[in-house]
Assembly symmetry: C2
Homo-oligomer: 185 residues x 2
């Protein structure tokens, strides 16, 4: 059985996941508006994830945080240019030049059941290859006007099914979609 590939991400209303230079200060500001203990379902989602898959940009962004947020969860950094992995993370972080399909097949064969696909370009690549199964997208009430977009060009339309939608007092709207017909590469 192929591992399920999930996206869990926040975007500005105009569809950006980071500023052009990669900063997410705006998102951190808005997350600070949430009541204490409210994580918009992130903890529950992460608890069900076997492996994180991200691109080098996202990995380097996460490395810049005060603390490594993923604990012992395996992380695979995908891309043609291998990242510098700090020794302290060598036990859980690995790099791979596999295609999305090769990676998903290998991890599925190894018994992984749910992959968390993160980062704009990585998500776009998995979408183009028809490998994303579900997306939870939290829309922040802000127009950035420029930045790194969540979505990119596709070789065909992708239809989704809305599984749930909820809003938060601070103005977030979180939508959970199942990909009902994936584009073929």
């Amino acid at each position: 059985m192929r591992a399920r590939c999930s996206v869990f991400i926040a975007t500005s209303l105009d569809g950006f996941i980071a500023r052009e230079d990669g900063r997410i200060d705006w998102l951190e500001h808005y997350n600070g508006l949430l009541p204490a203990g409210e994580d918009c379902g992130y903890g529950t989602f992460m608890a069900a994830v076997d492996v994180l898959v991200m691109g080098r940009h996202t990995f380097e962004q996460v490395l810049s945080f005060d603390a490594w947020p993923y604990g012992d969860k395996p992380v695979i950094v995908l891309g043609s240019q291998p990242p510098a992995i700090p020794p302290a993370l060598a036990a859980t972080v690995s790099a791979s030049r596999e295609t999305p399909r090769e990676l998903v097949e290998r991890l599925s064969a190894a018994g992984m059941r749910r992959l968390y696909i993160d980062g704009g370009l990585t998500i776009q690549g998995f979408l183009r290859d028809g490998l994303i199964d579900e997306m939870t997208i939290t829309v922040i009430p802000l127009l950035l006007g420029a930045g790194r977009p969540l979505f990119g060009k596709l070789t065909g339309e992708i239809r989704l099914e809305l599984l749930s939608s909820r809003s938060y007092d601070c103005g977030f709207v979180q939508n959970h979609y199942r990909v009902s017909r994936t584009a073929t590469a």
Copy 2:
């Protein structure tokens, strides 16, 4: 008092309001999934609108429909290239080369209280000039992969306040935002 400038529009999940060639067949398909009589609040919104403002592209798109949808409602087509206005519409449709601000000031002075700002480039121009007061955006559960975007570059961030959010059985999510701090041009 300045007339309120409102947006009421549908986008794909990846933020497009039309295909690259302007077609909205995908939106018409999805609108066909709504129960009979369900217009997602459009009728109520339109009843409160004094004047429609749109760009030439949107006007030409609307002209291509089977019937003119705006009845006797005044329509102003904004832009440097004046559109060809069919004689049958000459009583309600006019063209203008005013800037967004000039137009809003003139219409406000004439007693207009609510303007419906439509079309991607027109909305973007009004946003950049800090003139949009509220936006109702209905997100269709579809990734188009390419098209004409609702949003464009801004000279500064724009913060919004979520006034309401609701979802429909067919997978639409409609969010109503108030612009709480507008960009300055």
